[in-house]
Amino acid sequence: MSRLPDGGMVDRSKALKFRFDGRLYKGLAGDTLASALLANDVRLVGRSFKYHRPRGVLSAGSEEPNALVELGEFAHRLPNTRATTQELFDGLVARSQNRWPSLRFDAMEINDLLAPFLAAGFYYKTFMWPAAFWEKLYEPVIRRAAGLGRLSGQRDPSEYDKAWAHCDLLVIGAGPAGLSAALRAGQSGARVILADEDFVLGGRLVAERQDLGGWTDQVAAELDSMPNVTVMRRTTVTGAYDTGTYGALQRVADHLGHVPQHTPRQTFWRIVARRAVLAGGAVERPIAFPNNDRPGVMLAGAVRAYVKRWAVAPGRQVAVFTNNNDGWKTATDLVAAGVRVTAVVDSRSGVTLPKGPWRGFTGAVIQDTAGRQGLRNVTVRDASGTRRIEADCLAVSGGWNPNVHLTCHMNGRPLWREDIEAFVSASGAIPGLAVAGAAAGAFSTKAALEQGSAVAAEALEDLGLTPVPLDLPEAEDAPVKTSAFWHVPEGRGRAWVDFQNDVTVKDIQIAHAENFRSVEHMKRYTTLGMATDQGKTSNIAGLAILAELAGQTIPDVGTTTFRPPYTPVQLGVLGARAQGNGFAPTRLTPSHAASTARGAPMVEAGLWLRAQWFPQSGETYWRQSCDREVAMVRGAVGICDVTTLGKIDIQGPDAAQFLDRVYSNMMSSLAPGRVRYGLMLREDGFVMDDGTCACLAPGHYVVTTTTGAAGEVMAHLEFCAQCLWPDLDVAMISVTEQWAQFAVAGPMSRAVVNGVVDPEVTDSTFPFLGCGVLTVGGVSGRLFRISFSGEHAYEIAVPAQYGDALYRNLVARAEMLGGGAYGMEALNVMRIEKGLLTHAELHGRTTADDLGLARMVAAKKDCIGKVMSQRPGLHGPEREQLVGLRPVDRTAKLTGGARLTRPGAEPVRTQDEGYLTSVCHSPDLGHMIGLAFLRNGRARLGQTVQAVDFLRDGTTLCEVVAIPFIDPEGEKLRG
C-alpha cells in the first residue's frame, strides 16, 4: 500500500470496495478511482491508442489522457471515463481499455514493434488502394486494433435532465480566484452561481502543501450557507455562448453506487449570467523526452496533489524533472510528507536548486527511462555525462498553461505572454466575462485571490451593486521563473507529445517535412490534440515544436481552434427528455374517448391523434370498415371529428380588406351568413394553403386552415398584419382548441343536425355555403354548410368542453338513421373521389394554375403572391397539372408516389411527366382512382399514361380522366 500514514482529505474510517479488471481493491471515501488505484500500487491502468504501450496515471484532473476506463457494467457501461475525476464509491466496477486478452499481456503490443511503420500519415499512405479494400478490410482491422473504450451497444437506461439557471454572476472554477470572487459577490448581495468540476472546492488549494490553513473550508461553508449563492460541485462549464449563456454539465449521480429513482445521472444546464468570471486555473504541461510515457511518469503538480489531498505516494523513490521553480516545490513537499526524492533535474543552467536530501542536477535533462510496465529508473544527462537514477515515479513540470478554452468559444484567440511563456485570454473575448487567477496567467496564490476579488468588484459595479470590502488571507506570492523547454532534442527512442493519440516529436517533424505546416494541418495529419482530452496537456508543446521546426515564434504559429465542450459531454444528456415523444404534446380531439371506446385505431396528424376507422364486428381488414363508412355517408349520414383543422378568428373594421389581401380570391364580397372556399399563396406565387372563410357578422370572420399548416398560416397572417399592413385595424387569434367541430355528412345530415340545433334549419335558411350562430343543445354554437365529401353536409361547432357530449349525441342520432361515425380513411376516399385537395397536393411546389384554380386568383385586386404567380413558367402546358387517373385494367392497383411516363417509354428521369399524389379504392366506382400531376394534363383527358413504381408494384397503364370522379355537377351538395 502506498497510502501515507496520515493527512489527506480522505475518510480513513470509511473503506470502499471496488473492482478494477475483475480484482477487488479497497479505497477510502474521498478518493478518486485514480488515487485509489495508486494507493493500491496499481500503476498500469491502460494501453495507448495506437501502439498499445503500457500507460499509467499522468494527471490528477480532467486533462487526463491515459487513465481512461470503462465504468460500470452491461447497459450502464460508460467508456472513456477518466479515473482521475471519477469519485470512488462502494461497489464501483471499472475495466481497462484497448487491450486483449489482458492489460498486462496485450497481444496488440506488437504494434509497438511496428512503430517505425506506423508514424504520422501511415494510414493515408499505405491503405490507398485497391479502394474496395478500404471498407471491407483495412478499416475494420484498423478500428479493431486502435481505439478507446467500447460502448455497451444497449439502450442507456440512465435518466438525464436539462435545466436552466439565471444569475448575476457566474464564477467558473473554485480555486483561490474563484472562491474570492464568489465570496465577495455573495457578500455584496449578488445572485451567484459558483461551478467547479471537482467534488471539493479549492482548486490547487487542496493540492498544495502551502494551503491557506482553514480558509478554504471556511469559505466553502460560508458560500454553502448563503441563500443568494448556489454552489454547483461536480459541474463543468463546457461552453460559452451568445448573450451571457453558458452550457454546464452537472454529474448528479455519477458518484453514487445506487442512483435513487427518478434522479438523473447527469443534468445539462444552460446558465444565463449577467456577468461571469472565468477562474478555471491552469494545466501543467509535460516535457517530451525519450520514453516519457511509462507508468510512473506524472505531472509534478499531480504528484503533489496525490500526496497532499489523498495521502498517496505515487512512488517510493521519486525524481523530479522541471524547467521552472514551481517544480522544485514537488521535491520539498514530498520530503516533508515522508516520501523519498532521489533527484531534482532542472533543464536550466545557472540556477541554484533548493537544498534537500536529493541529488541535484542543473543544465540537465532526462535522456531515457527504463521499466516495461512501470518506471524503474531514469537516465540523467548533464555537462558531466550521463548516469542512471533510481526512480519509480518521475514528476515532470514543463510550466503551466492557463485554461483559455472558454474565452475562445466565440472566435477569440489567445495572446502569448513572453514573461510567463504561455497563452492567456484576450480581454473582452466573451462579452461580460472577466478572467482571473491562473487562467489569466496570475500563478501565485496571492495574485489569484486578489484578482478574483477585483474582477468580482468590477462586475458588481457594472451591475449597479456595491462591492463590500473583502479580507484576504496571507498567501504565497512567488514570481514565475521558467525557461521554455519543450522537448529533449537528443537521445534515442520516441518522445511523446500527445499521450492519448500516440503522437511523438518525430510525428510532428514528419508532418512539417511533408509540408503540413499550418498548425491546423499538423493537428489533422498527426491527430495531435484530438479525442477525449482534446490535447489539454499536448497542444501547446505540439505547436512549440512546430514553431521550432519552422523557425517561427509560438504566437506566429498560433493555436488550433478551441471549441465547446471543454470536456466530453455524453449525447444522452444533450438529448435529455427528448427520447421517444419527449416533451412533444399529444393533442387529443374531443371525440377521442368516444372513438377509442369504439375500438378506432388512431393515426397521427401533426401533433393530433385522429380516428382512422371504426371497426364493426366481423370486419377484419381496414378496407371493409372504410368501404362501409363511405357507403354509409353516401347512403345515409356520417359523423367525423374535424376539430384538428386550424381555426383563426379574425375581427376588425378592416378585416374584409385584410382577407382580400391574404387570399387570392375575393373575400370582401362575402356577406354575413356565407362561407367561401379560399386559397392562400406565398409571396413567391406558389400555393401555401387552402381552407374556408366564414363571415359570421360584418367585420367578424372565422377562417380554417389545413391541420398541418395551422401554425404556419397563423404566423403568416400575423406577419401580414403586423409587418405589411400595420395600418389595417384587424386582430386575430387561433381558436383551434377552443371549438370542437364535427362534420355531419350525407343525404340525411339535415335530420341529424335538426335534432340538436335550435332553430331548425331548412334549405332556405341554410343553403349550401351558408353559416350562422345558433343554439346547439342549449349552448351557443356555430353551423357551417360546407362539405369535404361531396355530400349534403354541415360542420357543427360548440365550445370544446361540450364536444364529447355533442359527438356522442350526433353519432347516436346518425346510427338511428342507418349512419354512424367515420374516420380519416373514409374521409380521404371521399375527398379523392371529389378531387378535393390536401397537403399531398398543396406541397409547396404547385401553383393555382397547376391545381386548376387559376380563376381563384382574382384579377381585380392585389394579394400576396399574385404578381409572382404570373411569372412565365408557373402556368401553361409545360406545367404538371392536376388530373384524375384510373387504371385501364380496372382490377389493377395504383400507388401514391408512382412516376408517370408515356406508355411504353423507358422509365428514366428524362421521360418523366409527373406523379401520383393520392390514391384510393373507390367503393362507388369499384376500382382504384388517383389524383396526379401530369404535364399538360388537362389537355390529355382520355389519353393513356403509365405509372411506374420501382419500390412496389412495377408498371400500371392508366387513363387520364377529369376530376371529380363522381357527381361532377355537385348536385348532392345542394340537394
Partner: protein, 87 residues
C-alpha cells in the same frame, strides 16, 4: 443567444423563429411589376455587420420583431416591434 422582446422582456432564442431580412417590410405596390417583386422576394444583402431582420415570437406574444443584429458576433443592436416605424 437571447433577444429582448419589447412586450415580454429578455427571452431565450428558442422562443423565436427567424424569417429573414427586414427588407420584407417594404412590400412593393401590386402594380410594381415582376422585376420589382423579384428583387423584393429573392435578392438580399449579405452584410458583415449590422443586419436588419425579422424574428417571430411564436412561443411568446406572437409579435413580429424588427431586430438589428451584427452578423459577425450576434450582438443585438436594436429590437423593436415590426409594426413600428424604424428608427
Amino acid at each position: 443567444m437571447r433577444l429582448t422582446c419589447p412586450l415580454c422582456g429578455v427571452r431565450d432564442i428558442r422562443e423565436f423563429t427567424y424569417l429573414g431580412s427586414a427588407k420584407l417590410l417594404e412590400r412593393p405596390a401590386g402594380d410594381a411589376g415582376a422585376a420589382v417583386f423579384h428583387d423584393y422576394v429573392h435578392l438580399r444583402d449579405n452584410p458583415a455587420g449590422a443586419n436588419r431582420e425579422l424574428w417571430y415570437h411564436g412561443m411568446g406574444c406572437c409579435a413580429w420583431l424588427h431586430v438589428v443584429r451584427d452578423t459577425r458576433d450576434h450582438t443585438v443592436l436594436d429590437v423593436r416591434l415590426a409594426q413600428e416605424d424604424p428608427a
